[in-house]
């Protein structure tokens, strides 16, 4: 009898350990955040900046693990099969993963992941050399006369897609010159080897402040508080779609809602900590809390947009 009881208890205990669905005891061990790029980049720095505050609100240790390679594809494919127990999360610059899906065969789908929370949003900026055009109007006039050369942080990257949208709307032709990352294209622009480049504000901020480069247009529906003088297309009478980029975390496919809720709460509190806000300010990040539900909608919305742009890419 006592032996049967013992077995019963063991089975029950095992059952408790393997059914995290209730989320009642979550988190009971360290939570791992996977960064899809090497240590020290933007994605990595933001993850490491938020980790201590997340620890505070989650009540457990947070570990950052870097899984770079193939633009994040290696990490994304591994994550598709990760245990949906809330203990492994992934952070990256959305919609990077969706773009990779359209570039070739992948063994994952961003739509399958469970969105948790996103904390920042950034928009692309059209930048020229400080010695050249003063306003977007002057730039547009020159671009209509002859094709200009424009730097990209990568073929098929968000900057490329945004560039294609802009060309389509503005009716101009451009010789695109792809680089690996925005450092290359920004350097080439600063040396006047290119006519303009499209990049995130954070990539060019110091050269803009020094007057070496000049931002002419922000691809967004509202102005960036860090760059209040830079117009958005709406101000100039253009109507464009945008590819906003989000930085946030997702959980593996089929993560139980109760666990997502706990994580989402902890993240939303962590991003309001003054220490994190301070770091964000220094990095010129535009903080904006995006809930699990809104993040999910952003994922669903982006697929048709990128599908359409990939068609344009082929031409």
């Amino acid at each position: 009898m006592s032996r049967a009881l013992g077995i019963f208890f063991i089975v029950a205990a095992a059952g408790l350990l393997t059914t995290p669905a209730s989320g009642a005891d979550f988190p009971s061990k360290p939570v791992k955040i996977i960064v899809t790029a090497g240590a020290g980049g933007g994605e990595d720095t933001e993850a490491r900046a938020i980790a201590p505050y997340l620890e505070k609100h989650l009540g457990t240790q947070v570990i950052i693990e870097n899984q770079p390679g193939a633009g994040g594809k290696i990490a994304f494919e591994k994550f598709q099969k990760a245990e949906p127990d809330g203990y492994s999360l992934i952070t990256y610059t959305f919609p990077k993963s969706v773009i990779i899906e359209y570039q070739g065969k992948t063994n994952y789908r961003t739509a399958d992941y469970t969105p948790v929370f996103a904390w920042s949003r950034s928009s692309q900026l059209l930048v020229v050399h400080g010695d050249t055009w003063k306003t977007f109007g002057e730039f547009l006039k020159a671009a209509k006369e002859k094709p200009l050369s424009g730097g990209l942080s990568g073929r098929g990257s968000t900057t490329h897609l945004m560039g294609l949208i802009a060309l389509d709307e503005l009716g101009i032709k451009v010789n695109w010159v792809p680089y690996e990352g925005s450092a290359g294209s920004v350097t080439a622009l600063a040396g006047k080897h290119l006519d303009f480049t499209i990049c995130l504000a954070t990539s060019a901020v110091s050269l803009i402040q020094a007057g070496k480069l000049r931002p002419l247009l922000l691809f967004s529906d509202k102005r960036d508080p860090h760059l209040p003088d830079v117009p958005v297309p709406k101000d100039l009478g253009f109507d464009m779609t945008y590819i906003p980029t989000l930085r946030g975390v997702e959980a593996p496919p089929n993560t139980p809602a109760a666990i997502v809720k706990i994580l989402e709460n902890a993240f939303s509190k962590a991003v309001q900590e003054p220490g994190f806000i301070e770091v964000a300010k220094k990095r010129k990040m535009v903080l904006q809390s995006v809930s699990s539900k809104e993040f999910g909608k952003a994922v669903a919305d982006i697929y048709p947009k990128i599908a359409k742009l990939q068609e344009m890419l082929k031409n």
């Binding site: 870097n66 594809k73 600063a190």
Partner: protein, 495 residues
Amino acid sequence: MDVVLQAIAFVFQWQNLAALAGGTIYGIIIGVLPGLGPSAGMALALPLVIKWDPATALIFMGALYKCSNYGGSITAILVNTPGDASNAATILDGHPMCQLGRGGVALGLSATSAMVGGTIGMVCLISSAPFLADFALRFGPAEYFLTAMLALSLIAAVVQGATIKGLVAAGLGLLLSTVGFDVITGELRYTLGWAPIEDGVPLIQALVGLFAVTQALVLAESGESISRLARLSGGFWEGVRTYFRYPASIVRASLIGLFVGVLPAVGQSSAGLLAWADARRASKHPDTFGKGDPEGVLASETATNACMPGDLVCTIALGIPGSVGAAIFLGVMIIFGIIPGPLVFTEKADVIYSLFVALVLTSFVVFIIGMTVGRRLAVVTLLPNEVIVPLILVVSLLGSFAIRNAMPDVMISLAFGALGYVMLKGGFTPIPLLLGLVLGEMVETNYHRALMISGGSYSIFYSSIISKILILLTVLSLAGPYLGSFWKTLTQGEK
């Protein structure tokens, strides 16, 4: 001038000296471990220093970043395993020196290189960073293409004596450099659907295979020890004395290192290789290179140590990182509220000059550590092969794994280990292969970019003054060996 004096006073406060020493030691340890480079080291140390005073924290990070290269040279010399890609060329002569029982001398050379190369680089950085940054900006795609061609022309000097085998290896290296994502067209090439090589053949993993694994295989063939003599001859100070016997090589290597460092789009791994190949070409006895010539160690290490300050030129003066390590250092600076860029020299002069003074000082701390600790490590080479072979394999493969936390990387290292072994037995040298692998992408992508900008006109390749000089240098480099005695007089002075 005042600002420099203040910076010196600041650096000599006890907590800053402690941060400097701590960063240096931590950097050397990070460097010794293959797979853990300065990038990972800085990221791991960030939580530790985040609450410190910004200038003190930057001194710690700067020292760490600067010294990991010296740590890497220790393993390169002693066990043929590069701690980081930048130590690739140090292996070529450093390890053969070890086999001749002169490991202590090689360690003396590398510590002196860290001091001299680092100081020369820092002096250039402090005195002319904004000027050098403007010079770097004048390099567009066409100039980068020509620079890479000039570098490739060095292969001609490297393969002298075994031309066909050398060219085969160089061609193989160039072919391997085309593997992966093509930046220009966005296509995947030769990946056979295997994700780990979509970014191209990973350099450090390939290096670990080509040198460490190959070395382990060779050692396993005999029951002796790395040092074929049963005792060590020559010590640290002999290395130091030897170093200063080659002033011309020191200057050349420093300039090459600085040049490669200042250009944001040329990888740090090229600096040592190019300086090594250049020293071999200029030498009167090129045959001894690769067989334990102290000048080879000197050239490679001096260049890589001068490269790091060069790397910081664009990072600090323009806010554009020159390498992965520099990108992380840039991120660290931003977190501490120092936004690098043209304005930083006036707005944050105190912090920047404290950092510079500390980095100069670091060069000497490295030397002292090398003198007290480093040289004792040479006894490793007396360990029997039964002990050292498993040790090399475990440490190097672990390092290869640690870079991306991925098992396929270990496979890549093993494959390159097998390739290295076959090449060695067939009488091929891996150096042209390395040069091809490192430079191939730079040649290809910049050629494309230049033509995209010019709209297909080839005039872009010779229109600027810099282009013309680079073309002239390349022609001289290729034709040099055929110009005979005239050339010798020109480059090496009257004999």
